[in-house]
């Protein structure tokens, strides 16, 4: 049977926790012996997902973000969950350069980064209920 492991973390939607969240996932993923590039990809994607919860999900109000990570063989699964406002049109939100906050120097690249840097991305959202982003990265597939 292949190796498996799980972690779950709950933290406040403060921007200071963006760095905390990506560092935690990188440390958890380290047991898969990823390359420096793979770690950088994971950190960037997690940072995007957590930033989305803070800016868009909770609109800068303070509430809890749930971060889950799971290892199944060489597969890393990361989930970032908020109970915020939800996304009205997921397809539109995932379009490159689309942003609801152009005046705040937002690039509209968050989901594009998650899609590009991870192997799989799944977004579930309900208006007024919140958003769940699930990302998968296969580690060391070239070894």
């Amino acid at each position: 049977m292949s190796y498996s492991n799980k972690m779950e973390l709950k933290f406040l939607s403060k921007s200071q926790n963006e760095s905390f969240a990506r560092t935690v996932v990188a440390a958890f993923a380290a047991q898969l012996d990823p390359t420096i590039e793979e770690i950088a990809d994971i950190k960037t994607a997690v940072s995007e997902a957590v930033t989305n919860c803070i800016i868009h999900g909770y609109e800068n109000k303070i509430d809890y973000i749930i971060l889950k990570a799971e290892i199944e063989g060489n597969k890393l699964i990361v989930e970032v969950i908020d109970n915020g406002v939800g996304i009205e049109d997921i397809e539109k939100a995932m379009e490159p350069l689309y942003t609801t906050k152009p005046d705040e120097d937002r690039s509209g690249m968050g989901f594009t980064v998650m899609q590009t840097f991870m192997d799989e991305l799944e977004v579930e959202s309900e208006k007024g209920k919140g958003t769940r982003v699930k990302m998968v990265k296969y580690i060391n597939t070239n070894k």
Binding site: E37, E48, T51, I55, T112, T116
Partner: protein, 114 residues
């Protein structure tokens, strides 16, 4: 995180250190804006000592690009590592902003009007 400024004629060289994400981007943004208002035309963002950047960094760079463009100046990026470059490349900003290996190279290009 930390930011240091150097001056070369009308070029503001901003050396950005640490990590650039949504949390730190406002601080970097404000520092660069305040310094730029002192009468510069061009900006070089030196990212050699920047360890991490996500798309909030792209927003910060694009915002500074627009500010410089309003004064008919140029913005250049120097010293981006491979993680940073991957985000920069994906964003498409290389169509309007040049990346250089060294500050000298960026200054030479700016002074030649490239």
């Amino acid at each position: 995180m930390d930011i240091n400024f150097m001056k070369k004629n009308d070029i503001l060289i901003a050396k950005v250190k640490g990590e650039l994400d949504h949390h730190t981007s406002d601080i970097f943004k404000e520092s660069i804006n305040n310094e730029y208002q002192k009468g510069y035309k061009n900006i070089i963002l030196d990212l050699k000592d920047l360890n991490f950047m996500d798309s909030s960094g792209i927003g910060m760079i694009l915002g500074r690009y627009k500010m410089v463009k309003d004064k008919h100046g140029t913005l250049a990026i120097v010293g981006a590592n491979s993680q940073l470059f991957k985000v920069i490349e994906l964003s498409g900003i290389l169509r309007v902003i040049n990346c250089y290996k060294s500050i000298e190279e960026a200054i030479n290009s700016m002074q030649r009007g490239i």
